[in-house]
Symmetry: C2
Subunit: 410 residues, 2 copies
């Protein structure tokens, strides 16, 4: 199973090219040559090999005014490989078929009854996936499943806690769907953050806080370009105490952000929309509620800004509506509370992917292995990802002790 350094590099470059077009869309060979720092003939060979595997298409662009042979466009092919993305939200379940390239090809929604448990939710999700299957073109392959769960999920120690209660493991999801494909589970806010970072409003930024409001407030936090809470840990920002003299919270503490911010922000979507509409119509009580909610939203965001100094804060879920209606109040609190040096480069926004951010992020979980090693035959641990490398003259088998200690960053 030993592979040569040349072959390892070739596979890595295949992944880099596929990831480039998967995340950015169609690109000319000329753009790829510049963007990937590889020479033209290498790009040509890589694109041809990916096209042969059905992962990309090469197309002649519509002829422009310029002389000479136009550069072929390389485009991810969504027909042959897709992922199933599932999301378990506070009051609904969604399932989508998402093609390589990140396009949502089909999506189905079902209500999640209050009090439903994990098994019931999985049954509904399996039924939604069954509705998606017939749309798959002949020869199309589901490469995996990604699941976005609201509530707390934990990946590092294998334990997952969530809403609705039950065993949301890779195995139970796979079994419920009757799908013999890898299945990965993540936190909804984390996955939405990753999607907005890869494709949306936070593209190209290094430090991002994505806030998701539903029955509470959670966060997906990206630091130094990496999803720091991507392992499904943390981000329970709603339980930051913002007011020691505040109201009792369901977590047992007092004055938590999500308790102080109150019903309008963390209630159900319909309630939030109704409130915002009433405020827009000038109803005084609704305007007051929106103002107070915006101020508490700004208060918590200011704390996160002072702690993490993000370049962007993205308001998702119910917070999207609140932010849109109360942006001035949010900004007012930031002016009062956030450190000037941190405010000055801060961008506030709503998700470009809207409510679909978490689904798109869940699909990325499923695509990850394919992007790391597009030809994937056989599945291998790319040795270039595992420092240090074996001396090529004496390469040990790849199945050997390549699990070197994690590179420490002193």
């Amino acid at each position: 199973m030993a592979i040569s350094p040349q072959e390892a590099i070739h596979r890595r470059n295949l992944g880099a090219l596929l990831r480039y077009v998967h995340l950015r869309g169609a690109a000319s060979r000329a753009e790829l040559t510049a963007g990937l720092g590889l020479n033209r003939s290498t790009i040509g060979a890589l694109a041809a090999r990916l096209a042969e595997a059905g992962l990309v298409r090469e197309e002649t662009p519509p002829s422009g005014g310029r002389a000479g042979r136009p550069s072929l466009m390389v485009r991810p092919d969504p027909t042959n490989f897709h992922a199933y993305a599932l999301s378990v939200e506070v009051d609904r379940l969604r399932a989508a078929r998402i093609g390589l390239g990140g396009e949502i090809l089909d999506i189905r929604t079902a209500e999640l009854a209050p009090g439903a448990d994990c098994a019931a939710a999985l049954d509904r999700l399996a039924a939604l996936v069954d509705l998606l299957r017939p749309g798959t073109p002949a020869g199309g392959t589901a490469i995996g499943v990604g699941v976005a769960l609201a509530g707390e999920t934990r990946g590092a120690d294998g334990t997952i806690r969530f809403r609705p209660a039950g065993a949301w493991t890779s195995e139970t999801v796979s079994a419920a769907l009757g799908l013999d494909r890898p299945c990965r589970v993540g936190n909804l806010a984390d996955l939405a953050a990753r999607a907005e970072h890869a494709r949306g409003s936070a593209r190209g930024l290094d430090d991002v806080v994505y806030l998701h409001g539903d029955a509470g407030i959670s966060a997906g936090i990206i630091t130094s370009g990496l999803a720091g809470t991507g392992r499904g840990i943390g981000g329970q920002v709603g339980h930051m105490v913002v007011n020691p003299a505040g109201r009792a919270c369901r977590c047992g503490s007092r004055g938590c952000w999500e308790t102080e911010i109150g019903e309008p922000a963390v209630g159900d979507r319909a309630g939030v929309l109704a409130l915002v509409a009433a405020a827009r119509a000038g109803e005084p009580a609704a305007r007051d509620a929106v103002r107070r909610t915006g101020e508490w939203l700004g208060h918590g965001v200011a704390n996160l800004v002072n702690i993490l100094n993000p370049e962007a804060v993205v308001f998702g879920g119910t917070l999207r509506e609140i932010y849109r209606a109360a942006a001035g109040h949010v900004r007012g609190r930031l002016l009062d509370m956030a450190l000037p040096a941190f405010r000055e480069r801060l961008r506030l926004s709503v998700p470009v992917l809207g409510d679909d951010a978490a689904l798109v992020g869940a699909a990325e979980l499923a695509f990850e292995q394919l992007l790391n090693d597009p030809l994937n035959t056989p599945p291998l641990n790319d040795p270039l990802n595992a420092p240090p490398l074996a001396d090529p003259q004496n390469a040990p088998p790849l199945t050997g002790p390549l699990n070197a200690p994690r590179a420490t960053t002193p």
Copy 2:
């Protein structure tokens, strides 16, 4: 300047071996073989090349009871290569000569007069470094300078703001020291966090918050094993608002953590030590002050735990004394406020490296380039760190467009 994949791998492996012994101390060839996943003859060749360059020593271990030839010990050699580590603290300046391997070989301290500016501080630091120089053994080389600055420092956009005021850039520090070596500047809490993560109480952990108390409270935050704020951004956790009805803070806001926690925690070291001693002696007012301070310390830590879910919180600077004296009160607040699932794996500790953590971290900044490419002739961008790699058959020059787009992590 193109190098072969074999040569790139060899250089990377040299760096991996040197980093291993630099961070962990002397190791037998047998341990290195297992720890680095390389075979015995490769380890032998790498160690020999590093020894030839004066970076490590190979020694026969004291003979044990076991039969057979003992495995040679590989030990970082601190005599030939050292770093200068400087720290600019609230009321003092320190300069240390730190050998490869992380040992503090010599250290000097000077007072920092209140109101001193950057130029004055740099003069004093240069004088301290002059005191360190004569101790350097013949042939010893300073490979670089790392500076730990309290207050806010920003690296990403090139701007640095700090205490004392002035231009703390790599260039001004280099010029003041009259040293033609690379100089890197970082935030004191960030660097202390990195040092404790690499060598101290947080070794082997992925998610760590290091809190530093001096005139305020700052944090070095490590997520997923990476120093997320290592670029000197963020971590101004002292300006998280914990009490909207609290006291006015010098930042312009109200009820900030470092204001509410009060004088005892963020006063000068002598004041903190006196308070803690009085509380230990049973003086009621001092006991009360320590209790209140411990409770507010626990309050802020609980918020950080709920936001970031770290595996460890390390209390440095003046917070070390407060935590030691008031651990029960800190833990009491965590029991009330931190989410149970997050508390259960949390470890609270004080820095193993004590007050020297930031200096050791500053030295790591200076050693970084050497560890990435120990032979360093000529300085190169290791292509294995810059995905994607050039196809070896058509390798572009290393000085070419290898600045591929940052690998996105969808």
